[in-house]
Symmetry: C3
């Protein structure tokens, strides 16, 4: 398997896992099979679509390559028939989700650098790519996005994106920086869940409006 | 009236009816006249704007042709002065909404095919075009989009989009496939409301988180 | 300081102030430091990003010039360390927010005219630019956008955009029309808050669904 197909395969795995996160939420909310499909597609593809639209790379990869939508639809089907099993697999799903987070943060940041963006905007676009799908997923069920509240989800994505940019500045081979970024994001996310890490809150925050 | 102006007229009817759905929701939520206008524009134009942005066809038709915004603003004005009448006309409004759903599903799918998208992405873009406005409308009032929950709304849009793609594969004249798609989507939607059809839910779904 | 840098400086002030509105909301909702950053960026940049994506001007200015993200991040940092002070400064923040509203309404409308849009779509794009960030900010915390409900916020943006279009039609120097538009929007917003103005609601509105 050459590099290209490995990259694509990892991308599709990330798409599938993010699709699972949308589909299982839809099942929990008692959506019908079609609502499950829509939420799977939204969670799986929105981050990449936002990335490509911002960069002017239209139509987005999610629409120019059928396999992305197919991966999201497969996740919807899996959640529909196997919801109870997937809920019991919460731990493996979390591991795959952490991997998806790393893959999307790195791919968003890489594409942004290749399009000529400066380091800081490239990092932000990487984070938007990684958390955009989850944010839309939660907005569609009218909840404050958990990616903004839960543990250090977005911070893990930031770490991967910063590594890609730093590697670019130090002229490391892109593949190496990307691999380190994916591993660091996924690892940080997994350890933060395991350890119950929280990012600091502001002094005086959280009072009722 | 030639074909082009018929297509545009149907498009503007769909825009007006979707605008009504946003404007009447805003009135129910006690928004002021300006909130009514914004919600009418969001519901009427968002689906087509998403379609055009995804395809790189910028500025979107809704912004390059003044009549789209005028149709949405007209709907806002109608809802402002005639809210009580429109609520009593729920049935005709539902019929027109079903027609709008069909028109938008077909137009989204057609534009996607013309832009060179593959069949599956073209179908999905058709559905996004058809339900995008209603989804944004409901997100703006912080509700889970009814298009994802109510009866088989999005499924009806899917049927129309699939017919357009199937017609394209069988080299049918595009006008014929489009007409059949619009009629089937609208008809399926109307019958599903009339009969109270529901799409299947997943085994074990709907339990509290 | 020449005209260009004055325009950019005002743009960055608007970005910073809108970022503050997102960051303080995030603090109130007990988001962690990263959620504060995300909400500041969303509120500060979304309006301009929507404007640029709609006009096909990608990557959006918010991503091609690092200073926009830096201004939003600065607002997040200020809200994190100085939340209690900022809450006590509600009045000056409101004044700056009114200025930001005017700046964004005018910049959105100007860019739309320069891209060849007709008057009505240009006005609507100006309003979307001005209120888009605030709308996304509120959707991210699952609230009906206050920009659609509160006093005459969006109407103030409309006034500035109409002035820019009217100035364009009367062939006024763009700088003059822009300045008048910013002042009128900010002034109208400030007076409306001070006087408690409300836009009219529809007859029979606000009844429970």
């Amino acid at each position: 398997m050459d590099d290209v197909s490995l990259g694509l395969m990892l991308d599709l795995v990330g798409t599938f896992v993010f699709g699972l996160s949308g589909a299982t939420l839809a099942v929990r909310r008692d959506f019908d099979i079609f609502g499950i499909l829509v939420l799977a597609i939204a969670a799986a593809l929105a981050g990449g679509v936002i990335r490509d639209v911002f960069l002017g790379a239209t139509p987005p990869a999610a629409f120019s390559d059928t396999r992305y939508i197919a991966a999201a639809a497969l996740a919807a089907g899996a959640a529909f028939v196997g919801y109870r099993v997937i809920e019991r697999l919460a731990k493996p799903v979390m591991l795959l989700d952490a991997l998806g987070l790393g893959l999307f943060a790195v791919s968003g940041c890489r594409k942004a650098l290749e399009a000529g963006l400066d380091p800081l905007p490239a990092v932000i676009l990487g984070v938007v790519t990684a958390v955009g799908g989850g944010a839309l997923r939660d907005m569609l069920v009218a909840e404050p996005p958990r990616v903004l509240r839960e543990e250090v989800y977005a911070l893990a994505a930031l770490i991967g994106a910063v590594i890609v940019v730093a590697g670019d500045m130090m002229a490391l081979p892109p593949g190496w920086a990307a691999a380190i970024g994916v591993v660091m994001t996924a690892g940080f996310r997994i350890v933060s869940v395991w350890r119950g890490w929280n990012a600091p809150r502001a002094p005086g925050s959280g009072k009722p409006r």
